[in-house]
Amino acid sequence: MSLTDFSGPIVVEIPSDPAALFLVRCLVERLAGRLGFPGEDVSRMTLAVDEACTNVIRHAYGHRTEERIGLRFLVTDERVEIHVRDFGPPLDASKLAPRDLREVRPGGLGLHLIRSAMDEVHYEAPAEGGCLLRLVKYRTRREERAQ
């Protein structure tokens, strides 16, 4: 049985506690590795999901550690889609632009890393509140998909 034979998505919930982020990294790393992504993509996907959770802890929950972060992994033959769900206040869309990398300063790198690491990044505002970030990585290269 391959992982894509799962009868449904993989759903995990973690506390909004930075100490729990290593578990997310372990999960993404093992899953992406088992799905056959090359090592570089495994590192990038791991970084992207970790950064997404870090942003939730920092911006949606203001460093409160008792909130929840929902993670959902949907695997198909074509791609893996990772949902990062929070229940904080709605995001200010104007704050979602990655910063100019020519500026060498400490903050604002996370969003750039997420966008660089994944093939698609979508922010959504569910009717029930909070934010849903959808991260997509294709299992085949763009040129292979075009054929």
Binding site: L21, F22, S43, L101, V104, R105, L109
Partner: protein, 114 residues
């Protein structure tokens, strides 16, 4: 997290974090590194060979170190990046901003960064 600080010779310090450097542990690296940027310090080398993973908080901490080093005229170098840390620096387009050496010994002898 454990962060070792060793003065290899007068004014030359090697800072070695052990473990993942992320949102929860980067303050430990900052706390160990910041006091080294003072009068009498010649060089600070951050040895990343024991860091399997680093996120943007860790990279931000190293940018802060770089900025402190420029203000205090201390040489600031990175050494021993693991592949996953190197991948994060590549994605951030920041590798060229730092002096990066394959290992601490090369950073200490004052060679040219790769």
């Amino acid at each position: 997290m454990r962060v070792n600080v060793e003065e290899r010779r007068a004014g030359v310090f090697v800072v070695t974090p052990e473990g993942d450097v992320d949102m929860s542990t980067s303050p430990d690296v900052r706390k160990s590194m910041e006091p080294l940027f003072r009068k009498g310090t010649v060089q600070v080398v951050v040895d990343l060979s024991q860091v399997p993973y680093m996120d943007s908080s860790g990279i931000a901490t190293l940018i802060e170190g770089l900025q402190l080093s420029q203000r205090s005229v201390v040489r600031f170098t990175l050494a021993g990046m693991t592949p996953s840390v190197e991948a994060a620096f590549d994605l951030a387009h920041l590798k060229d901003v730092f002096e990066v050496f394959p290992e601490v010994v090369a950073a200490l002898v004052g060679g040219k960064a790769k």
